[in-house]
């Protein structure tokens, strides 16, 4: 079914990520199913575990989650693949974002743009609560990690709301406590 990736595949590979970029509303993770279809099922350049590993690594490492895309590229075609995938997934969306935000900030005080910013703010804040809930869910679900996990989440919220401490100290403390097996 599949053939190994050759350099001649690179233009098509790059083009595919350029297209996916414009479909990645809500983040690059939204296009993960489509990348899976292309890289694993259609072309067979990656196996299932390679795909899952890329997503897990990007989530475990610091930085934006979009970095699972260059990891996929790296697994398919080394550093050239990583570069093609990253530039592909970011270039169109970057140009569009810059154009739209410049257009919007020039018209910042018009009723239409003010309606946009104030009309969307409640939804945005609601979605941030959901994002926090989704991150907390694994700790709520698993009895083994429930007590330590929820304790750490609650402590983090309290420190963030009551102090001006930088988040890195909490992240380091969380890592340390976790490595010792308390979470």
């Amino acid at each position: 079914m599949s053939e190994a990736f050759v350099l001649a595949d690179l233009p098509e590979f790059f083009l595919r990520f350029l297209t996916l970029s414009l479909l990645s509303i809500g983040g690059a993770m939204a296009t993960a199913p489509e990348m899976h279809r292309y890289l694993v099922r259609e072309q067979g350049w990656l196996d299932e575990s390679g795909f899952t590993t890329a997503v897990a690594l990007a989530q475990a490492a610091p930085g934006p989650n979009v970095l699972f895309v260059p990891v996929l590229g790296y697994q398919v075609a080394g550093l050239v693949g990583a570069a093609a995938a990253l530039v592909g997934i970011l270039l169109p969306s970057t140009l569009l974002s810059l154009a739209v935000s410049r257009w919007g900030s020039r018209r910042r005080d018009t009723p239409a743009v003010r309606a946009f910013t104030s009309g969307l703010a409640p939804m945005t804040i609601g979605l941030l609560f959901v994002a926090g809930w989704v991150l907390a869910l694994p700790f709520v679900r698993e009895p083994d990690h429930r007590l330590g996990g929820i304790g750490l989440i609650a402590l983090t919220i309290a420190v963030m709301l009551k102090t001006r401490l930088g988040p890195i100290w909490l992240i380091l403390a969380g890592g340390l406590v976790g490595a010792l097996g308390a979470v």
């Binding site: 610091p62 569009l96 703010a121 939804m123 979605l127 926090g132 991150l135 989440i153 963030m160 988040p167």
Partner: protein, 203 residues
């Protein structure tokens, strides 16, 4: 770093501080990206709004509302917009490069050496601990942004309705964001547009 100041100060109007140079932007975004285990957004809010005060909370929500609506990773769009706002294209690229360069190097190195550390219990534990902290950071950020809705022209009832609907549709009904964001976005825009028109008539 002032610690005696009230951390929950209500910020409105324009932000009191700004980055000194594109290099300052690059460094700041590098530092905040490297703290982003399980998501950069909460760290970005903490560093840019609460600590550096380059943005008010209102400006942060505005930029993020737009960033999530556009294609592309939300925090990447956010960094582009903030960089652009201070130093134009140079600023946008500096912020973007800061957000991506070091994390990219790290994740590629991790991918190259993955098999040597996979399955180590202490590492899995550390990642779990950092995951719990990032969940807490996210929830705390949402709490801190909540008071910005006080000045919203739609009033508290509509705000509660839209925030509640977003939570119900995504967390309870598990509808894809691709539907929820445009749907609530259009509805929110219409309600806000009417509220703003009424506000201007009464002036």
């Amino acid at each position: 770093m002032p610690t005696d100041q009230d951390p929950i100060h209500t910020s409105s109007g324009s932000a009191p501080a700004r980055p000194q140079s594109p290099a300052d932007l690059f460094l700041t975004f590098t530092v905040l990206a490297l703290q982003g285990f399980g998501g950069v957004l909460a760290v970005a809010q903490r560093e840019l709004v609460d600590r550096k005060q380059w943005l008010t909370r209102e400006e942060f929500i505005e930029s993020y509302s737009l960033a999530q609506l556009l294609p592309g990773p939300n925090v990447v769009n956010l960094s582009l917009m903030l960089g652009d706002r201070f130093f134009g294209l140079r600023g946008a690229l500096s912020a973007l490069a800061g957000m991506l360069t070091m994390p990219l190097v790290i994740v590629i190195v991790l991918a190259a050496f993955y098999n040597q550390f996979a399955g180590h219990a202490a590492i899995a534990g550390a990642l779990r601990g950092m995951g719990a902290v990032s969940a807490g950071l996210m929830i705390a950020m949402a709490c801190r942004l909540l008071p910005t809705l006080r000045a919203n022209p739609m009033g508290p009832l509509w705000c509660a309705l839209f925030a509640g609907l977003a939570i119900a549709l995504v967390a309870v009904l598990h509808l894809p964001l691709l539907w929820v964001v445009p749907m609530l976005g259009v509805a929110g825009w219409c309600v806000a547009r009417i509220a703003i028109a009424a506000e201007e008539r009464n002036r």
